[in-house]
């Protein structure tokens, strides 16, 4: 989802299955019993230990960040990393939000991610429709061009992209960043949505045509309403990617007022290296992490399902 890491979300590195028709959907047979935990076996102890240690280490990393965000700079330097903060220093958060501009970064991130996600999803739903359900001569070629983006590392094109944005006057502008993010979401979106649309019965269009609906009308009133789950998972994944993206923000945005959260936090981190204002950085990190983790806790199912839908067809 992030750049190099956000690219994790680019699923089908292997182009072969893309060209082939998706195989018939195989229902996972375990689904039925899924809800009930299995009876305890001795070897399960090993699993509990393994997973438990992951939980403990991850949770302690987050707890440590939270703890530091409640310390003063003197405490941070003077006490051992284990020691609990002396008091609740919520003013660190206020300082980060106002003084260190986290509030502004947060607003920029929201604006950029939401707009880019909406643009990317709308454009790719519309494009996926003819690619998935209308036969025309260059259908396969056009689809392959779209999906090529899943395979080629995007970052290698950064130099020409930089020049291009400069030429358009879109350097250091949020609009430019939005356009790049929306494009960057396209291959994955088109891949998932075409796969999803192909699973709908073809009689839909025929019936609509007999009723006298134009193809556009058919798309809007018949196909789109059926695309809910597909659109939802694509939108969630795109949003996460855009929210976390770092590389293009670093490349294209230079003024602090226009920075998104990852970039702003990076700048803050650089400043903390040379200055002494660590606790503000930690408060900033907490504020970046908390909403995403809460959203993830609520949407866990959709997010993980959205991922698998893309990568493993069916």
């Amino acid at each position: 989802m992030t750049n190099s890491s956000t690219d994790v979300l680019q699923p089908a590195a292997d182009p072969r299955p893309l060209a082939a028709e998706p195989p018939p959907i195989r229902r996972p047979r375990r689904r039925r019993t899924k809800e009930r935990p299995a009876p305890f076996r001795t070897y399960h102890l090993f699993f509990y230990l393994l997973l438990g240690s992951i939980v403990v280490s991850t949770a302690s990393a987050f707890a440590w960040v939270f703890n530091v965000s409640m310390k003063t700079n003197r405490e941070f330097l003077g006490t051992s990393p284990w020691e609990l903060a002396e008091g609740w220093r919520w003013e660190n958060y206020a300082n980060a939000w106002n003084g260190a501009n986290i509030g502004a970064y947060f607003g920029n991130s929201l604006f950029v991610s939401i707009t880019a996600t909406v643009l990317g999803v709308v454009v790719s739903v519309v494009a996926a429709y003819p690619l998935a359900r209308v036969q025309f001569r260059f259908n396969g070629v056009v689809l392959a061009v779209f999906l090529m983006g899943l395979m080629i590392p995007w970052m290698v094109t950064f130099a020409p992209l930089y020049n291009l944005m400069q030429g358009f006057g879109l350097l250091d502008s949020r609009i430019g960043l939005i356009l790049v993010y929306a494009t960057y979401n396209l291959p994955f979106n088109v891949f998932v949505l075409t796969g999803f649309m192909r699973t709908l019965p073809y009689e839909l269009e025929e019936a609509a045509a007999i009723d006298g609906a134009s193809p556009t009308r058919t798309f809007v009133s018949v196909i789109l309403p059926l695309m809910g789950p597909g659109v939802a998972s694509v939108a969630i994944i795109s949003f996460l990617q855009n929210w976390n993206e770092f590389f293009y923000a670093l490349l294209l945005i230079h003024t602090p007022e226009k920075m998104t959260l990852p970039l702003g936090l990076f700048q803050l981190g650089q400043a903390a290296n040379y200055g002494t204002n660590w606790v503000t950085l930690f408060a900033g990190m907490m504020m970046t992490v908390a909403p995403v983790l809460i959203a993830f806790a609520l949407l866990q199912k959709q997010i993980t399902k959205g991922l698998t839908v893309g990568a493993l067809k069916g």
């Binding site: 890491s5 590195a13 036969q135």
Partner: protein
């Protein structure tokens, strides 16, 4: 009638997406190749130099070092990623109590920004203020304490570990989906025949998931070849170039030395190398389609 009417929507429906893709991806991609065949002077003028840039790459110790590190990162990362990911996914496929809770913690780092994760780990690795060295001392392993990111011997592995920690959730989720799809009658039959769980994993589950594992490996290669953000934030390529990858070197060459043509040549080499490796992996790991 229907077909004819449908044809009319093809172009208008495809156009917006195609324009975006052409402008911000296809054009820069083509331009990358073009740039790599030219040389930029400081004033910004371009002269055609053919394959000179590529020849320069071969003799450039910085590029060779970056390339070596990129490969190292890919290999070390794969070793750090796949055994734990398979084990975790295997554990999660046993319908344990609190599965949702475990899944949350395994996947949680994925939803965090690379920037946050990198800054957080930079501090966790900090020799005195961080969490790792004091923790090692606490359990009596003080001898293992290191300046993780400051020592050329450990820096690359330390950075790689963070990127694995961040992304492992995705691999686990995909592997879990794979495990879930395995036909339960086959596994049941093995159990009845008295096969142990470990045996079932290695002799039945993993072979049946060979295709998925191959895809995940290629995915890892694609991702680690463009490793940039983690390194840029945590070490900036240092100490002594020990974590410099093609990604970070490219960025430096383009913006510190304003040599866009040379950076583009590196990018082109990276893409070609990646496609070749993906091809090789596909060939080597290709198996006959299992029917089940």
């Amino acid at each position: 009638m229907l077909r004819k009417a449908q044809r009319r929507i093809i172009v208008p429906f495809l156009l917006p997406a195609f324009v975006l893709l052409a402008l911000f991806f296809l054009y820069p991609l083509a331009r990358t190749v073009d740039l790599s065949l030219n040389e930029f002077s400081r004033t910004g003028s371009m002269t055609f130099v053919g394959t000179d840039q590529y020849e320069r790459l071969v003799g450039d110790p910085d590029f060779m070092n970056a390339l070596k590190n990129t490969f190292l990162l890919t290999i070390i990362g794969a070793l750090m990623l796949f055994p734990p990911a398979v084990t975790i996914a295997w554990a999660l496929s046993h319908r344990l109590r609190g599965e949702r809770f475990f899944r949350f913690f395994v996947f949680a780092p994925v939803v965090l920004s690379v920037a946050v994760v990198s800054i957080m780990w930079k501090f966790l690795y900090h020799p005195t203020l961080g969490l790792i060295n004091p923790a090692l001392k606490e359990v009596g392993l003080g001898a293992l304490a290191k300046t993780w990111l400051g020592d050329p011997a450990t820096a690359l592995a330390a950075v790689t570990f963070v990127s694995v920690w961040h992304g492992i959730g995705i691999w686990v989720v995909l592997l879990c989906a794979g495990f879930e799809r395995l036909p339960s009658d086959v596994l049941e039959a093995a159990r009845i025949d008295g096969a142990g769980e470990v045996r079932i994993l290695f002799s039945i589950m993993l072979p049946m998931l060979a295709d998925l594992l191959r895809m995940l490996l290629v995915l890892w290669v694609v991702q680690s070849f463009q490793a940039f953000a983690f390194i840029y934030i945590m070490t900036g390529g240092g100490p002594f170039g020990s974590t410099d990858t093609v990604g970070t070197l490219m960025y430096r060459v383009a913006f510190d030395q304003a040599d866009f043509g040379y950076a583009a040549a590196m990018g082109a080499v990276l893409v070609v190398l990646m496609l070749v490796i993906a091809k090789i992996l596909n060939k080597v790991m290709k198996r006959d389609e299992l029917q089940y």
